[in-house]
Subunit: 209 residues, 2 copies
DNA sequence: AAACGATTGTAAATAGATTCACAAACAGGG
DNA sequence: CCCTGTTTGTGAATCTATTTACAATCGTTT
C-alpha cells in the first residue's frame, strides 16, 4: 500500500527502526555508518536501507556511508519527530494509568496531555499528575489541549464505540490497546498493540515443527 | 518470507485476527459467515481470506460460507492454540509485574509459570502469586517448568544480553517489550511490542499532509 | 428433479516489494 | 594528481503478495 505521496507504508514502518538504531549508535560515539553495517545491526539488506532512504532524498556519501547525526536529523524531520505531539489517553484503568506514567514517551516527543474515563468514580481523580476528565467532554477538551493522537485503553466491548467518538471528534491517529480490531474511516490511522496476537502467531512456528 | 513449510509469514500473522473476530462472532450467537462478511468486518478482501485459508485446507461450503465453530477449531489447531503454552517473564519491574497479572493471557492459553530478575532485592519476592527467581538460574528452572516462550521486560541496555542468555537456554520464541531491536539466530522467533515505534510511524502521516 | 442464487477454492493475472548489479562519486595514499 | 578501494543511489530483474475471475459445489425453491 502506498497510502500517501508514493512512499510505501512498509518503508515508513521501517524508518523508526533505523532511527532507533542510529540514536543508539550516536550515543555510543559513532559518527558514520554504511548501509552494510546498519543492515547487519538490524538484519536488513543494505540495498533495502538505501532504497528506503532514496524515497526521501540522498543522504549518504559514496565511499563513506551516512553521517549518523545528519541522517538522524533527516529521519526525525521526515517522520515529523522534530515537534512534540500531544496525546490523550482514554480509559484510566490499570493499563491507562501505566501508560500515563510510562517514561518512554516524553523523551521521544510524545506528551500525554490529558486523560479520560467514563466511570464517575474515576473522573476527577488525579493520575500521574493529570486530572481525569469525563469522556463525554472529549471533543471540547481535546481541542483546547491540541490533542493530535489518542491512546485507547478501554475494555474491548466498548472500544469500537469509544473509537467512533474519537473519530467524530476529529482524531486522525489512534493507538489501540484493546484486543479488538476496530473499524475506522480510511483517513484515520489506527495501530494495535496486542501481545496476545503476537504470541498467537509465534505458536504456529513452535508447534508446526 | 515463507519461513516454514511454504506458508507465507504474512498469512500466519493474519490468522490470529481471523480467530479473534470469529470468537467474537461466535459469542454473539452467529453460526455461519461468508468470506465477504468476515472481510467487511476486518477490512480485508474476501479473496484474501479464502486464499489464506486455502493454505491449510478447505474449510468452507460453497453457497453457504464457513461454520464459525468449525473454522475456530481449525484455526486454533493450525496456530497451536489447542494446547496451553508456558511462559516465563524476565524482568520483574513495573512492566513485568503488570504482565504477570494481566488477565488477558490465561484465557487464550498462555500461562505465566515463572518470573526472573537479577536484582537481589527483587529475587525471592512474590509477584502475582509467583516467586521471583534469580535469572542466573534461568536454564535449570525453565526446563523444570517446561517454559516454551519468554517475555522480556528488562531495560533496553541489558536486553541483548538477556536475550542471548535465553537463546543459549534453548528458547525459540521471545516477546520483547524492551525498546531495542535485538539480534537472534534464524531459528528463534522474536516479536517486539513497542508503542513508541507505532506512534513514530503514524506521525509521518500526520505531519506530511 | 431441474433450475437458481450464493459462495467457495484456486489458477492466472496483476500489483507490489525486494534484491541485484553497476555506473557515479568520494576519500585517502602514493 | 592519479590510482585504489569503498559505498552510494537507482534502474532493471526477480521474487512475493494480492486480486481477479470463474468453474465447481451446495442448499433451496419451483
Ligand atoms: N495490549 C496490551 O498490552 C494490553 C495490556 C493490558 C490490558 N489491555 C487491554 O486494555 C484495556 C484496559 O485494560 P485495563 O486492565 O486497564 O482495564 P480496566 O478495567 O482496569 O480499565 C478500563 C477503564 O476504561 C474505562 N472505561 C470503560 N468504558 C469507557 C468508556 N466508554 N469511555 C471511557 N472510559 C471507559 C473504565 O472505567 C476503566 O477505568 C482492556 O481492553 C485490556 O484487554 C491491553
Ligand atoms: N513496550 C512497552 O509497552 C513498554 C512499556 C513499559 C516499559 N517498557 C520497557 O520495558 C522495560 C522494563 O520497564 P519497567 O518500567 O518495568 O522497568 P523497571 O526498571 O521497573 O524494571 C526492569 C526490571 O528488570 C530487571 N533487570 C535488570 N537487568 C536484568 C537482567 N540482566 N536480568 C534480569 N532482570 C533484570 C531489573 O532488576 C528490574 O526489576 C524497559 O525496557 C522499558 O523501556 C516497554
Amino acid at each position: 500500500m502506498t497510502t500517501h505521496s508514493g512512499v510505501p507504508e512498509v518503508v515508513v514502518d521501517r524508518l523508526p527502526q533505523y532511527l532507533r538504531a542510529l540514536a543508539q549508535l550516536e550515543s555510543s560515539g559513532f559518527d558514520v555508518i554504511s548501509s552494510q553495517q546498519l543492515g547487519e545491526l538490524l538484519q536488513v539488506t543494505p540495498a533495502q536501507i538505501r532504497k528506503d532512504l532514496s524515497y526521501f532524498g540522498r543522504f549518504g556519501k559514496q565511499g563513506r556511508g551516512y553521517s549518523i547525526s545528519h541522517l538522524l536529523e533527516r529521519l526525525r524531520n521526515i517522520l515529523g519527530l522534530d515537534q512534540t505531539w500531544n496525546v490523550a489517553v482514554v480509559g484510566v484503568g490499570r493499563l491507562g494509568r501505566s501508560i500515563i506514567s510510562y517514561p518512554g514517551f516524553e523523551p521521544e516527543g510524545f506528551r500525554v496531555v490529558c486523560a479520560f474515563d467514563s466511570d464517575p468514580a474515576v473522573v476527577g481523580q488525579v493520575a500521574g499528575g493529570l486530572t481525569v476528565y469525563n469522556f463525554a467532554d472529549y471533543a471540547e477538551i481535546a481541542e483546547r489541549e491540541h490533542v493530535q493522537i489518542a491512546i485507547v485503553a478501554v475494555p474491548a466491548n466498548v472500544a469500537q464505540a469509544v473509537i467512533d467518538n474519537l473519530v467524530a471528534a476529529g482524531v486522525k491517529s489512534i493507538l489501540n490497546y484493546a484486543p479488538k480490531s476496530a473499524l475506522t474511516p480510511p483517513d484515520v490511522r489506527i495501530r494495535n498493540v496486542d501481545p496476545v496476537v503476537s504470541l498467537q502467531s509465534m505458536t504456529y512456528y513452535l508447534s508446526a515443527v
